[in-house]
């Protein structure tokens, strides 16, 4: 059993600025690359060129076999670990799990995290300029599918000289990309780590996404998606969309434990008229407001649609076993007990299909009250099982290096 250091400690020997945790990848820099097209998308449209912004942590080994690709979820991006500056208050979105001595150990792996095509953190997306019109793409940006992301990520792998990933890893929508990798490029990954994901969304899931999209598009400032041209921003709609999402990413139990019916202001005292606000209201509004200040509404619509459209086995006669019979990698699946958006049943379906297809798989159902968000948060069992699995992935690297030396 291993324990992840969570205490802030000054690092004496790593050249990291004082104050950053010792097990952090430290200060990181984003890079970007523009890939020449034509890049054909699943919808049939073609991008003349596209830019991906990405970060890397750790060192690529001599035979370029220790690459780990991180696929992000709905609102994620390329900044998965570390800090952008010494004064940066918050680390990357998956910092709990990426770093020296962490489950995705940057002492062993060369970790690549990117902002997906269609994103709003520097990669080509709805906020980029459409070369044909000279104006922002906005709602005209082509709809994307997980396979488009996977194909663009493969071009990024080519750029970095990585012929085969040691592992492709993702949670939620990121897990869908990881699974798609295992079918689109079966020879280009040795392990596929799929956390809190599903082979396709349920009707209820699509319904939540549609409600979120309606919140955005019905905001008067949405202007048919041309808000950048018209210098408006449907902030309110995006905030409501995020609030809806946020409720579904937490569990009833989790919200209850965190807030209960606690009041932030006001009173129920008889004879006193004072507006009551529950803590959970103010929390949700804060989440919505802070998100809507940093995310593009058209990207939110694009990402939720990609989630809805994903169906792993669609091109394989709707048979997940037939689909996974193309996979050549080994799989680790993790789900969380209180996750009702990507429920354990969805991961069990993946495990069953993999077993029927005779593909090596390990599946753990981790106890957590944190709902879907659990995949981003500290959890001892999740950390231990993830670390043990990745440790084996790393051990294969040294074993194969040794056997090559022996030959």
């Amino acid at each position: 059993m291993r324990k992840i250091l969570t205490t802030e400690a000054q690092s004496h020997h790593s050249g990291k600025p004082a104050g950053l945790p010792a097990n952090s990848v430290g200060i990181v820099e984003s890079k970007s690359h523009t890939f020449p097209g034509p890049f054909k998308l699943a919808c049939g449209r073609v991008l003349d060129e596209y830019t991906l912004v990405y970060e890397t942590y750790g060192q690529l080994n001599a035979d370029k076999s220790n690459g780990v690709l991180i696929c992000h979820a709905l609102s994620g991006h390329h900044h998965a670990a570390g800090y952008h500056s010494a004064s940066d208050k918050r680390p990357g979105w998956w910092d709990h799990y990426i770093g020296p001595g962490k489950p995705i150990d940057t002492n062993k792996f060369f970790v690549v995290a990117l902002n997906n095509l269609g994103g709003c953190h520097g990669s080509t997306g709805p906020t980029s300029i459409n070369p044909e019109t000279g104006k922002p793409w906005g709602a005209d940006f082509p709809p994307l599918r997980a396979r488009d992301w996977v194909h663009s990520q493969a071009q990024l792998a080519d750029l970095l000289g990585i012929q085969q990933w040691a592992a492709v890893v993702g949670g939620s929508l990121g897990g869908m990309q990881a699974m798609r990798w295992s079918l689109e490029y079966p020879e280009r990954l040795r392990h596929c780590v799929v956390i809190a994901s599903a082979m396709k969304l349920s009707a209820q899931n699509i319904a939540f996404n549609e409600t979120a999209r309606q919140a955005i598009t019905s905001d008067p400032d949405f202007r048919d998606g041309r808000y950048l041209e018209e210098d408006t921003l449907p902030r309110h709609g995006l905030a409501v969309a995020r609030m809806i999402g946020h409720i579904t990413y937490l569990s009833d139990d989790g919200l209850g434990k965190k807030f209960g019916r606690e009041l932030r202001s006001g009173t129920f005292e008889q004879g006193v008229e004072e507006l009551v606000e529950f803590q959970v209201q103010s929390y949700l509004r804060y989440q919505g407001d802070s998100f809507s200040g940093s995310f593009d509404p058209n990207t939110y619509i694009l990402m939720t649609r990609a989630l809805d459209y994903f169906d792993l086995a669609r091109e394989y006669g709707d048979d997940p076993v037939a689909a996974f019979s193309h996979a050549r990698s080994k799989f680790l699946l993790v789900s969380f007990t209180s996750d009702w958006r990507f429920a354990p049943e969805r991961s069990r379906e993946i495990a069953d299909a993999l077993m029927h297809a005779n593909v090596p798989v390990t599946y753990a159902e981790v106890e957590s009250p944190m709902g879907h968000d659990a995949f981003l948060l500290p959890n001892a069992r999740y950390e231990n099982i993830f670390a043990a699995y990745m440790n084996n992935v790393a051990r294969e690297l040294t074993d194969s290096a040794r056997s090559e030396v022996a030959q």
């Binding site: 069953d352 077993m355 029927h356 005779n358 753990a364 069992r381 099982i385």
Partner: protein
């Protein structure tokens, strides 16, 4: 689990076959079958600590409660379905064995023999439920809710028309080790059955 029953199971599982190990524990058996007999397959386990050990060994393990059945496994999708020392912990052991014989062509089951002389002695003379090294639990906190003896299990096999391919009693003590061949129900500590339909 005793090492002797692992040796016997090892001999009964064909090389390069596909195995499902129900209640696989720390994955030691699957690891050994994989390395020595190129057997492939999966373990099924519910205890998080055991699952962790399986992952550390690099054994494929799937978290699942056996009391919920094996509906997620297709007919005859494995050559052999194993279950060591877990039968007595199940809510409906006979239904699980039926399922094992649906999912696998053959199955191998081991369980502690409650007809062993020590258990009989304990109950007969102390008047209390047996507690031993192998069965260290009190009656109220034991996971072992369906004990049986060799004889009981053979009655069950007959009633369900399960064909016994092999049977073996094992015992850790040297004296019982000899006597178990003559009186398995009295001297066998662990029963090992190899079944098919």
């Amino acid at each position: 689990m005793m090492r002797k029953d692992l040796d016997i199971i090892h001999n009964w599982v064909p090389a390069q076959s596909r195995v499902l190990d129900l209640g696989c524990g720390d994955g030691a058996l699957l690891e050994r079958l994989a390395s020595e007999k190129q057997v492939s397959g999966y373990g099924v386990e519910i205890d998080p600590e055991e699952i962790q050990k399986c992952v550390e060994r690099g054994v494929n393990v799937v978290e699942q409660n056996l009391d919920n059945g094996l509906k997620n496994f297709a007919d005859h999708s494995f050559d052999t379905v194993l279950m060591t020392q877990a039968l007595q912990t199940l809510r409906f052991p006979h239904l699980v064995v039926e399922e094992m014989l649906r999912v696998g062509r053959e199955c191998i089951i081991t369980f502690p023999n409650f007809g062993q002389w020590k258990a009989r002695w304990h109950l007969a003379f102390s008047g209390r439920m047996p507690v031993s090294d192998l069965l260290p639990y009190e009656w109220y906190d034991t996971p072992n809710i369906h004990f049986c003896t060799f004889k009981d299990f053979e009655v069950l096999c007959r009633e369900h028309n399960w064909k016994i391919l092999h049977r073996q009693a094992v015992s850790e003590s040297p004296v019982s080790g000899v006597l178990k061949d003559f009186l398995p129900n009295l001297f066998g500590e662990t029963a090992i059955y190899h079944l098919t339909r």
